[in-house]
Symmetry: C2
Subunit: 447 residues, 2 copies
Amino acid sequence: MEESDILIHNCTILPMDNREPIKEGLIAIKNGTITYAGREAKAPRMRAEEIIDGRGKVAMPGLVNCHTHLAMTLFRGIAEDQPLQKWLKQTIWPLEAKLKPRDVYDGALLGCLEMIKSGTTTFADMYFHEDQVAKAVEKVGLRAVLAQGILEAGVLSLGEKMLRESVNFAKKYNGYADRRVTAQLGPHTLYTCGSSLLRKVREKATELKVGIHIHLAESEETVNLTKQKYGLHEIELLEKIGFLGPDVLAAHCTHLAKKEMRTMAKHDVKVVYNPVANTKLAQGTARIKDLMDLGITVGIGTDGPASNNNLDMFESMKIAALLQKQFYKDPTVMPAQTALKMATIDGARVVGLEKTVGTLEAGKKADIILVDFRKPHLTPVHDPYANMVYSARGSDVDTVVVDGKVLMENRRVKTLDEEEVMLEAQKTAIDLIKRKAPVFKFIKNFT
Amino acid sequence: MEESDILIHNCTILPMDNREPIKEGLIAIKNGTITYAGREAKAPRMRAEEIIDGRGKVAMPGLVNCHTHLAMTLFRGIAEDQPLQKWLKQTIWPLEAKLKPRDVYDGALLGCLEMIKSGTTTFADMYFHEDQVAKAVEKVGLRAVLAQGILEAGVLSLGEKMLRESVNFAKKYNGYADRRVTAQLGPHTLYTCGSSLLRKVREKATELKVGIHIHLAESEETVNLTKQKYGLHEIELLEKIGFLGPDVLAAHCTHLAKKEMRTMAKHDVKVVYNPVANTKLAQGTARIKDLMDLGITVGIGTDGPASNNNLDMFESMKIAALLQKQFYKDPTVMPAQTALKMATIDGARVVGLEKTVGTLEAGKKADIILVDFRKPHLTPVHDPYANMVYSARGSDVDTVVVDGKVLMENRRVKTLDEEEVMLEAQKTAIDLIKRKAPVFKFIKNFT
């Protein structure tokens, strides 16, 4: 009789490796790792301290949100239906200039709560006071890939300072929280970081063996800023300075020609599609099918909750699939299973964790969600992939396990006081608006 | 002391008339009608048999789903990621040919359950065996505008027969279920109904004083079929035969030039935008801003759950706003409040019920939903419209009142056995696939 810590039985499993959906499945977890995920009937005899009944539920790998700015939960709904640059300059940057570490902690905790409740188990974040995000992650038990943001905005000393902080963050927090946190460097983007600074970021990342999280080709306007300054597309410039590589996570990529796509494929750059934010801000549609046809690995992100306005990866998966069908005028583009792959194993590849998470198979860390299919909008079940991508919502997630620890069961989060987290965040958000503070110098320097 | 049947107090109210959001609001209901909706502090003293505590919740008019085929819940996820015509001809029509009245009842009941649980209180439906939908509506307590579908498909006698059935349905069910059901005639569309039949539909609708529910300009392909046959755009043909009028509910309208839009505006034709289904089937984006700029009233529909794949109007509202911003390359297009208006009062106008429902004000029928904002993804509340449209999900609806009757409270539906409805629908769906039956002749006749 094998001993496990947790057994999840009676469930359908979408392993998201090369196997078909498994009915009457069993998942065994021991020391935070999956030791079995397959047909219950074929499993060795096992017993465990904790047995979770998965009847009517579908188990799959926890979702990977590849791009967000978690603490922006505080700004949810604060400046709606505005153009990107106006939104940034008139509302978001002035508010961010007032942010204190504790605000980021409160906002991040709220974001973590929202993610657990909608089935995300790993997220990639880039923001200020990122140590606070790491602390929130440690507390709640999620897995995260975190980068302290770097902005220069024409002030070289500011860029140097922020690079140092980003490097220090990476040194301190890579492997933090029982290795659930890995670190990246976080240069914001090309119109806020000069080429010389980006070269240094590349060097430091290579030296520290950490990845780089950056916004790329987000809008026509920002691509043009780089063209005016350097005479090159963002991708061309980055290739020229030796920045590109398989450890680069490029968020957005809505404005790429085939030539730039091929350059990205050559360097195995990872792309994060943010369908909701890109559409809400009318930035255009990333050509994900073309990118994938070139062999580029693409994950899905929600982007910050101020431009989405939630962290629900189920919604982002559906909208991703819909927008790609629309863009290519072809309903066969990005079928449900592909969207689900992007949100799980491909997302894990994007954040460099494909050996750790992203599928349900023996040897991987136990990052598992159970989705309760006993709901009217998930009935009948003709195709579990279709139900998951086109019919389900984040609120259908019933149970969340990360690193073998149950973070949520029957929609009760175990590692947080939900009421208190919401109350604190609401208070912080209101205080932040009222609070007077000098605006950072770099904001004035922006074009 | 005024006597009411139900008081909802302590809630924020989005009345969706010309008033701003009301904090600390009170809604009073007597004999199925709203007698007060405003500030609690300004209300006369009232008492009631039932008092609902709205603390932390936002009250708004129940959502109006202006276009669906409810019983297609049975086909949810059955044939995914396929082109419209292949999807219809290879899967949907052969299955529909096997439908028995009882199947439609089971599917409609499941759809009603899903709608209640996601805040829809009124829906417009067009399908076969529509009397079964009416019966489901009577049982569950929703409000509906129902049309028995009419198909001709080149077989004139079939068209005549189906028109008779649609007329008989309208005669029998207009005003059914305490007037919660109103009837329309339901000619499917122009490539399935000839101009002579459509002329008769128009005559009958005028005679019976009921509206007409039709699919219009759904795809380039179907618009071209009409052009080939008649040398006219669908709208031109319909104008020519005197079909257009303020009682026509035109679903889709993705393929209209400015000229056709002006014709529709002239005749005050109502338009239903189905953003999810249109995008999933890659049919193109309806130019809703242009239509609204011309003064056309536009509502939102989910379309049938086989091409969506749910009946969640919250999701459809968000995707509607996103797609319009994207289409016009302008994030200021279709702000949250406009999307919410389309899903409530404008939807009510589209189905001819604007005097009955669509806003929360004294004199209207009490069709009210309470959305629980005490959720992480709805925190903080900077802008209740933005939270409602961009952050909320159908599952945030906590309480549903229709015609003054509480259909759901704390997410428990009172008029149905939820488990049983889901089980029956699942069984019916599986049986339907296995069942052998002759295929209707008209399917073979299709181009």
